[in-house]
């Protein structure tokens, strides 16, 4: 199957896979935890190496293609290009951070827990790097199944119902995707699943229209886009902490990624017809989600709804079909992934200290935990895209593209940013300032691990916010290809 380990993509697949399988079989206390941590840090090193060795002369290092099922025209094809590198970097950064945060936690059957986490990482990496539709589908499912088990076994009280809803939603979505992939496969001249062969297809307008919906529904459920979002708040609330972080930071990006890599280049005619309507739908959804977020009392649900709004903005940016917006979206995928992890870590810390998740039952935490307050305020500022933070660069670029597409829609989408400031600042005010309440009298400040993790995140927030051009350079490697079919239309 894989003949060698001599290039980055296959290493990124194999490393978490091996670590995951190893974790399953090692019962020794603490060993699975260490294996996962080491493997995830190694993955980060590999991604960084791939960023360094990224020129034309290194293309062999960043591409894999092995024959898998010759009779079916499918091969193990992976690539690390601009878009993929950003997402793999995000995955590779978030996993060690999450693992560091949960380093002290005790989980029942920790070997299975860490094993499944690593398999999730493997699935995510595979989804981002696959250049073969069948392999893409394979990893798409591989990323889903471990998360299903993680949430159902280690999750909260209502976990079984919430997770099942999530699972059924996404599974049905991915079956639609499978129908679409099979149809395209049939259309390719030499019956192949290769991405390049898919790109070269000439589909007529009616075909594109219904295929577009098959793909779009699958991705929309994953992101999620209004009105397919109802699984998300429940699933985030009930999943165990690290899984919530990974789901909201990386897994939702699978959907956005799918739009960019698979949907946009494949169905230009359909997208030209539908994009205004879809952007309108998304914008309405963004405002709707933001309004709900304002009225949420649970921190977790607030973050979940805020995530719907932010992901919606990315989707709108993609459908504006401008190169500027697309670059912004790819950058913003990275930023959002980093920022939301910070929010979750803070929410999780507060929950563990106080035992409550209701905003109304918290107050005055700043007096007790000044370090946490500083870091969280920075993360919150990044979440509402204040200048100098990373999200400002991303969302500003997206708005730039949206404005080019249609100023009115851009203005409408802007409302949701204002609303996001409302609920984020409201949350900060209620939790951190004001009088101490019974639940918060015994809060301690964050420990060294948290300081380390938050510092890394804060560093990323400012570095990307102040000097984003190296990342844009990586991103530009792949944006032109995505949109080149739209130039002639």
């Amino acid at each position: 199957m894989f003949a060698a380990f001599d290039n980055f993509p296959s290493l990124l697949i194999w490393l978490p896979l091996v670590a995951g399988v190893l974790s399953f079989f090692i019962k020794k206390e603490g060993a699975p935890r260490n294996i996962s941590l080491i493997s995830s840090i190694l993955s980060l090193a590999i991604v960084i190496a791939s960023l360094i060795f990224s020129g034309q002369q290194y293309s062999a290092l960043n591409q894999v293609s092995y024959i898998w099922m010759p009779g079916l025209g499918s091969g193990f094809g992976f690539i690390l290009d601009g878009l993929t590198k950003i997402l793999c970097l995000l995955t590779a950064i978030v996993f060690p951070l999450v693992l560091l945060i949960i380093n002290r936690d005790e989980y029942k059957n920790s070997n299975a827990f860490y094993g499944l986490l690593m398999l999730t990482q493997c699935g995510l990496m595979g989804v981002f790097m696959a250049t073969d539709a069948l392999v893409f589908y394979f990893f798409w499912e591989l990323a889903l199944i471990p998360v299903y088990f993680l949430s159902s076994i280690w999750g909260g009280e209502k976990r079984i119902k919430a997770t099942f809803k999530f699972f059924i939603y996404t599974f049905i979505g991915s079956l639609f995707l499978l129908i679409g992939i099979l149809y395209l496969y049939l259309k390719t001249p030499h019956q192949s699943f290769n991405l390049a062969a898919f790109y070269n297809l000439r589909l007529n307008a009616p075909e594109q229209h219904w295929l577009f919906f098959l793909f779009f529904i699958a991705f929309a459920i994953k992101m999620p886009i209004f009105p397919l979002h109802t699984w998300q708040p429940d699933a985030y609330e009930q999943a165990p902490r690290p899984v919530t972080m990974i789901m909201s930071s990386i897994m939702v990006k699978m959907g956005v990624f799918g739009l960019i890599r698979w949907l946009l280049p494949l169905f230009p005619l359909a997208i030209k017809d539908y994009n205004t309507w879809i952007i309108l739908l998304i914008t309405v959804g963004m405002i709707y989600a933001s309004l709900i977020a304002i009225y949420q009392d649970s921190i977790k649900r607030l973050i979940a709804y805020s995530s719907i709004a932010h992901i919606g903005l990315m989707a709108a940016g993609i459908f504006s079909l401008t190169e500027v917006a697309l670059e912004g979206v790819i950058l913003q995928m990275f930023n959002h992934g980093i920022n939301i992890v910070a929010l979750w870590i803070a929410a999780d810390f507060l929950e563990r200290q106080t035992g409550v998740t209701q905003i109304s039952q918290l107050g005055g935490v700043a007096q007790k935990a000044p370090k946490l307050t500083v870091f969280l305020v920075i993360a919150a500022m990044a979440n509402i895209a204040l200048p100098l933070t990373n999200a400002f660069v991303g969302e500003f670029t997206i708005f730039n593209g949206l404005y080019k597409f249609n100023p009115w829609i851009a203005a409408l989408a802007g409302v949701s940013i204002i609303l996001s400031a409302v609920y984020t600042l409201n949350m900060i005010k209620n939790i951190f300032y004001g009088e101490l309440v019974p639940a918060t009298t015994d809060v301690k400040d964050i420990g060294k691990t948290h300081v380390l993790v938050f510092s890394i995140i804060t560093l990323l927030v400012f570095v990307v916010g102040i000097y984003p051009s190296p990342i844009f350079k990586i991103i530009q490697e792949s944006t032109a290809i995505v949109l080149n079919k739209y130039g002639s239309l």
């Binding site: 199957m1 499912e141 591989l142 159902s152 079984i160 639609f176 129908i179 149809y183 049939l186």
Partner: protein
């Protein structure tokens, strides 16, 4: 040819073994030995070594596909004996009788694997069915088992009658029993030919429990002792499908465009009714019998498409479906209470068996990385490549989505629910290991299905 004679011989030996050896364990050991012998002689035939040369006047002919099919059948039976042998031993005074019956079934399957004449098809199906009637009623003191046996017998006899009538019509039209002769003569459609073909289609649909001829299945599967349901629902069903495919490929291949719509409709209804009814079942055993109808719907897609992908896919499907269903039934056979609630928290109590069962369920549900995914996938590809009726593919995928719902109810029970009251059962170490090996095999087939299918071309 080797397997027919050896399995019949071994069956007779098993019958007499009951007089000589009193220990039940040795009967199982002898039966396992017999299967290994069958595997070897089948492999020899695959390699071109025929131990017996009997002039069959061309009524039986074995090609690669039939031999690979037999290989899967015998191997699945081996897995079945290893997993459920100890449960077979618990039946009656002499388990060797049951083993003998199963060997006779294998004889019938060996005949079906190579039939070139409708007579051989008929004989093969009868040899398969008669021992099964006995197995279905083997729990003599249980009313449900008796009911199952009687129902199965009546329905079986009825469908055999229909089949015979179909064969008679075809003979009247073509003047021959040879399938090739019938196929060659298919110039124009005569009423007699149509009646014969439709009757055969109905009879085969009975055997594979396709809608609307499926009503016997849940009752019979439910009433039959679980150990034997396991055999009936997997290996025998696969044999029925093999006969179905071979008959329609060899005898009616030239008329494919004329009968495809009939099979398409049968397949569509089988998928729909099987899956939707399975959702509402409370007992795992009944759910599995409806799921077996649903899986039959998928296999019918292969009969519908009738191309090389369908052939490869069916071979894979037999293996995937048999191994997975055998695994689940083997666990069920150890318990008396088959309701889904009875398996709450199962995996906590038995981690290894629970995990193996999980893989089996995932495979039945067609989740990627398990054999079931590629089995279903090949069926869909076969329909796509055939190029007609794309709606069958969409229906198939939607039904797969429904099936995930009821299969995952079982996953939820065994993994996520808190344990309730359950009978104390201790799984022997060997059972656990074979279950695990079975699960690993399913995963291997799920990652590299080519390894099995390349056997067809070596």
């Amino acid at each position: 040819m080797n397997t027919i004679i050896f399995s019949a011989l071994w069956g007779v030996l098993m019958m007499y073994l009951g007089f000589i050896v009193k220990k039940q364990k040795s009967a199982t050991a002898f039966a396992v030995l017999g299967l290994i012998v069958l595997l070897i002689v089948n492999w020899l035939e695959y390699a071109g070594v025929s131990i017996f040369t009997i002039d069959m006047q061309g009524m039986l002919r074995y090609n690669r596909v039939s031999l690979v099919f037999l290989l899967i059948t015998i191997f699945s039976t081996l897995v079945y004996f290893l997993l459920s042998g100890s449960d077979i031993e618990k039946f009656g005074k002499s388990s060797s009788d049951y083993y003998a019956l199963i060997f006779f079934v294998l004889t019938g399957i060996s005949i079906i694997a190579g039939f070139q004449s409708l007579l051989m098809l008929f004989i093969g199906i009868e040899i398969i069915s008669i021992p099964l009637y006995i197995l279905a009623g083997s729990e003599k003191n249980n009313l449900k088992s008796n009911e199952a046996a009687l129902k199965y017998f009546l329905m079986g006899a009825f469908s055999t009658g229909i089949m015979l009538m179909g064969i008679a019509f075809l003979y009247g039209d073509a003047g021959t029993f040879y399938v090739e002769g019938i196929n060659l003569g298919l110039g124009k459609i005569t009423p007699m030919l149509t009646v014969g073909m439709v009757l055969l289609m109905a009879a085969m649909s009975f055997k594979v429990s396709a809608v609307p001829f499926h009503f016997w299945t849940p009752d019979v599967y439910d009433g039959t002792p679980t150990v034997f349901t396991s055999f009936m629902a997997t290996i025998v069903k696969a044999a029925g499908f093999f006969a179905f495919f071979r008959l329609f490929e060899n005898a009616f291949g030239n008329l494919h465009a004329d009968w495809e719509i009939l099979i398409a409709v049968i397949a569509a209804f089988t998928l729909l009714i099987g899956n939707i009814t399975a959702v509402f079942q409370q007992s795992i055993k009944r759910m599995l019998s409806y799921s077996s109808i649903a899986q039959a719907g998928f296999m019918l897609l292969g009969v519908f498409a009738l191309n090389i992908y369908a052939k490869q896919g069916l071979i894979l499907y037999f293996a995937a479906y048999s191994l997975a269903t055998l695994g689940i039934f083997a666990v069920l056979a150890k318990f008396k209470d088959h309701s889904i609630e009875a398996f709450n928290g199962f995996a906590k109590q038995y981690p290894l068996v629970g995990f193996s069962m999980l893989i089996c369920i995932l495979s039945l549900a067609g989740i990627p990385m398990t054999a079931g995914f590629f089995a279903k996938y090949y069926m869909l590809i076969a329909v796509i490549k055939y190029g007609k009726m794309f709606w069958l593919v969409i229906l198939g995928i939607l039904c797969a989505a429904i099936s995930v719902y009821y299969y995952f109810k079982l996953v939820q029970a065994i993994y996520f629910k808190e344990a309730g009251q359950r009978e104390e059962v201790v799984f022997p170490r060997s059972f656990e290991l074979i279950m695990l090996a079975n699960a690993i095999l399913i995963i291997i087939l799920g990652i590299h299905p080519d390894w099995l299918m390349s056997l067809l071309y070596m």
